[in-house]
Amino acid sequence: MQQELEQWKEQISHLLNVANDYLREVPPNQLYAAAAIVVFTTLLLLSLRFLKRTKSNTIVLTGLSGSGKTVIFYQLRDGSTHQGTVTSMEPNEDTFILHGETTKKGKIKPVHIVDVPGHSRLRPKLDEYLPQAAGIVFVVDALDFLPNCRAASEYLYDLLTKGSVVRKKIPLLILCNKTDKVTAHTKEFIRRQLEKEIDKLRASRSAVSDADVTNEFTLGEPGEPFSFTQCSNTVTTADASGLTGEISQLEEFIREHVKP
């Protein structure tokens, strides 16, 4: 061992000498230039990386199964629902320029939109997309809201307490879909109901938290009734209708968080 080490040392010192000699031969001007180039390129690469990471252009569509995520996805992309949709088994994912903006002139940054299936068995998929999300759209069925209210608020609670969402303060939009129907609930009503439900959930979930490991953060301030304004990330509500293509508020939200 010792001998080997010695040998190695010798070789290294020899190489160093050679390198030194070579460096001395090169004029210092060139040396500085080379060093400057190396430093500059690394800086450039690093800054590019950094910029890319901060300016994610991913928008994640979530919500319960049957709330109309896939329809909205295709409305955003193609401006049409084609021949309708069925329950998704896999996420839909695409990077494109919003259909409403294809007529606009100038360079527009395309948006990466992911439509994650709402079926409860497929929820773990969401975790793959959340860390890179610039915004989350939580789609709620405004027509059939009350029967699904508890399930929706549980999903929303889980979403709002996810570590990646809380830490990065990813903005969230509660999108009340199917508002073209007359009997649909208003977004104010839905917002209030969701807040109420989450308030109750807060009590029961914080009790479980010692056993349950998924929720690392608690919502809102203790002692006060919960409202979305207490969240560390901004939570807004909007109306939309996937079938008729009335999604301008959603497009506004997307453009707010993914700059063109």
Partner: protein
């Protein structure tokens, strides 16, 4: 009559539906199919029955995994349409040729479909008239054509094209003729390799199964007539594989795809298994000494990354020998280049190993089988990415499937439900059911303790009026936890006792009533009837099945029978089934966590609690991630 035929992506966009059929479907059979069948890892099944008010449909489906397409046919159940499988296969073949991911409208497919449908119907007509042997022949033809479409090298492309589809009789012979030419050469070897894969054959998915079965059988007959020289060889081989001649020959369809595998390979394969087994055992040992137990895993808030890495390494080690023995050069080349399309035969060895692994983890055989079928169905036809092995692809697919199964479908937040019931001013009733000696009373006490900790007023109801000492046992628990207990002694009808207990609870303001019932074997009809009555009479908020984690194959029987009996013996039109599972004795099983998977798969109900010790505090929630990890280790 066919009601509807749909083509949609796995993402959920309908690409094409038959407008000409255009009947409005009653209810939403497609969504139900996806939610309760395809997403529950039951896609290996042959068909699905959908019942809606005023309609009962049968649905059949097939996947094109490489393109991510799903083809579903809907028809009235009373009509036994014979051509649906045929038609689906034909539609799949034709549509995959025109499919383009960027296109969303396929108007021109209407014409093709019309043609295909007429042909399929004509074939079905012929099929009715002619005798079963010819039936086989026709179907076989279908199967081989399908092969042609995708591979284009079998049979020299001799009988490709639409013309052949029409006159069945003549071409059928021709097809078989061509087949024979191939068969002559490879007869002996085919049978040899068949023998090897007897076990694997079962995992073929149902739909194409029977058609190719018949077909293969028929080919066999024809061969006997035509190629006598080959027969000698074959006969000797047949002696060996006589046990399952049908299944054995079915493999015919695939041999072309395989690199030349001779009988030598057969022994080789056994070797592989042996080697793997050893490897696995070693793995076990390592784990038994080094790894912490489940409980600890659960206490840790999140699994650390390096542990996962270790896991991957493990998996690699595990799968390495079986990749190596196959001929390292071809496998290496495959792994670098990425294989064109995964065939069922490629998946079989990996799936078999996976199935064995699941079974060593105490997963019921039936469940492991079904899971493997479903994973095979989801992978078949998919492209293997470069620098991946089949075994790792299969493993990843299985992991995904397991996570999906174990993720609860309904909320398991009992406290939330308790609070909701409190608002309605009625007690939340939980009934504990299960076979004898699984720990119902003990875990009832644990649940009571857990609820007490969260400021919920609990009351126990001793409805085990059957076994002597049961009431006293519960009374002891109640005294130690200082909670009220409702008891009426023995020889009383448990349903009535429970009823009175609930009334008492609403009177004294208890939030939760925990009802202890007598343990009963799933086959004991009188006791099951009593249980059904108890549940019907009291309409509890939660029926908790208590099962021990030690149980193996019996888990399936227990849960399915309990569910079935509850449904059959109930007098109400909408019977209550099991809502959740409490898994007991989880501390005694080390890494054999398969019972959790079996139970969840068979009942669809989530594991709500896990009992993992002797004291009141030993009640936990199931950690899906760690279970999946342990299962695939």
């Amino acid at each position: 009559m066919l009601e509807q035929l749909l083509i949609f992506t796995r993402g959920g966009l309908i690409l094409w539906s038959c407008k000409e059929l255009g009947n409005a479907l009653k209810g939403s059979p497609i969504d139900t199919l996806i939610r309760s069948c395809l997403l529950e890892e039951r896609s290996g099944a042959a068909s699905y029955n959908y019942d809606a008010p005023g309609a009962s449909y049968s649905l059949k489906w097939t996947f094109h995994n490489d393109l991510g397409l799903v083809f579903v046919a809907v028809y009235q159940r009373i009509l036994h349409l014979l051509y649906v499988d045929d038609l689906l296969a034909a539609v799949k073949r034709e549509f995959s040729q025109v499919y383009d991911p960027t296109r969303t409208v396929y108007r021109d497919f209407d014409e093709i479909f019309k043609q295909l449908k007429i042909e399929a119907e004509a074939r079905a007509e012929d099929l009715k008239k002619s005798n079963p042997v010819v039936v086989g022949g026709n179907r076989k033809q279908q199967a081989t054509w399908q092969g042609d479409g995708s591979e284009g090298k079998k049979n020299g492309g001799g009988l490709k094209g639409e013309g052949g589809l029409k006159n069945d009789g003549g071409d059928g012979k021709k097809g078989n003729n061509n087949n024979n030419n191939n068969n002559k050469l490879e007869n002996g070897r085919v049978n040899g390799s068949n023998l090897k894969s007897n076990g694997g054959n079962v995992s073929v998915n149902g739909k194409e199964n029977d058609s190719s079965n018949n077909g293969a059988f028929d080919v066999n007959r024809l061969q006997k007539l035509r190629t006598k020289s080959a027969n000698g060889k074959k006969a000797t081989d047949n002696v060996v594989s006589k046990a399952e001649p049908k299944k054995a020959v079915k493999k015919n369809r695939v041999w072309d795809e395989k690199p030349p595998e001779t009988k030598l390979d057969f022994t080789d394969h056994v070797d592989v298994d042996g080697g793997e087994d050893k490897d696995r055992k070693v793995d076990f040992l390592a784990k038994e000494q080094g790894e912490s137990m489940m409980d600890k895993d659960e206490i840790l808030s999140s699994d650390s990354e390096d542990e996962e890495d270790e896991d991957d390494d493990d998996a690699e080690k595990n799968s390495k020998p079986d990749a190596k023995k196959k001929g390292w050069f071809s496998s290496m080349f495959q792994s670098i280049a990425g294989k064109a399309n995964l065939e069922k035969s490629d998946l079989e060895p990996a799936l078999k190993a996976l199935k064995d692994r699941l079974m060593t983890k105490n997963v019921a055989e039936e469940i492991a089988e079904k899971l493997c079928e479903s994973v095979a169905a989801s992978l078949e036809g998919k492209k293997l990415a470069s620098f991946t092995r089949i075994s790792s692809t299969v493993q990843a697919a299985m992991e995904e499937a397991l996570v999906r199964i174990l993720t609860p479908r309904r909320s398991i937040d009992i406290l939330r439900d308790v609070h909701a019931a409190k608002e309605q001013r009625k007690p939340y009733v939980v009934v504990f059911v299960g076979v004898n000696g699984v720990g119902k009373s003990t875990n009832l006490a644990k649940v009571a303790y857990w609820l007490l900790q969260h400021n919920v007023k609990v009351m126990m109801a001793a409805c085990d009026t059957f076994r002597s000492g049961a009431v006293e046992q519960l009374r002891t628990h109640a005294r130690r936890l200082q909670i009220p207990i409702f008891e009426k002694g023995y020889e009383k009808d448990p349903a009535v006792v429970a009823k009175e207990a609930i009334q008492e609870a609403s009177r004294n303001g208890s939030d939760v009533v925990l009802v202890d019932t007598a343990g009963r074997m799933q086959d004991n009809e009188p006791l099951m009837r009593a249980l059904s009555k108890l549940i019907y009479l009291n309409n509890p908020d939660l029926v908790l099945f208590v099962g021990e984690a030690l149980v193996g194959n019996d888990a399936v029987d227990q849960l399915s029978k309990f569910n079935q009996k509850l449904a059959d013996l109930s007098t109400s039109p909408t019977p209550r089934l099991i809502d959740g599972i409490l898994l007991t004795k989880f501390d005694t099983i080390d890494d054999k966590v398969g019972a959790a998977l079996s139970m969840v798969y068979i009942s669809g109900a989530p594991v709500m609690f896990v009992g993992c010790g002797q004291s009141y505090t030993d009640l936990k929630k199931l950690n899906v991630k760690s279970i999946v990890k342990t299962l695939l280790k």
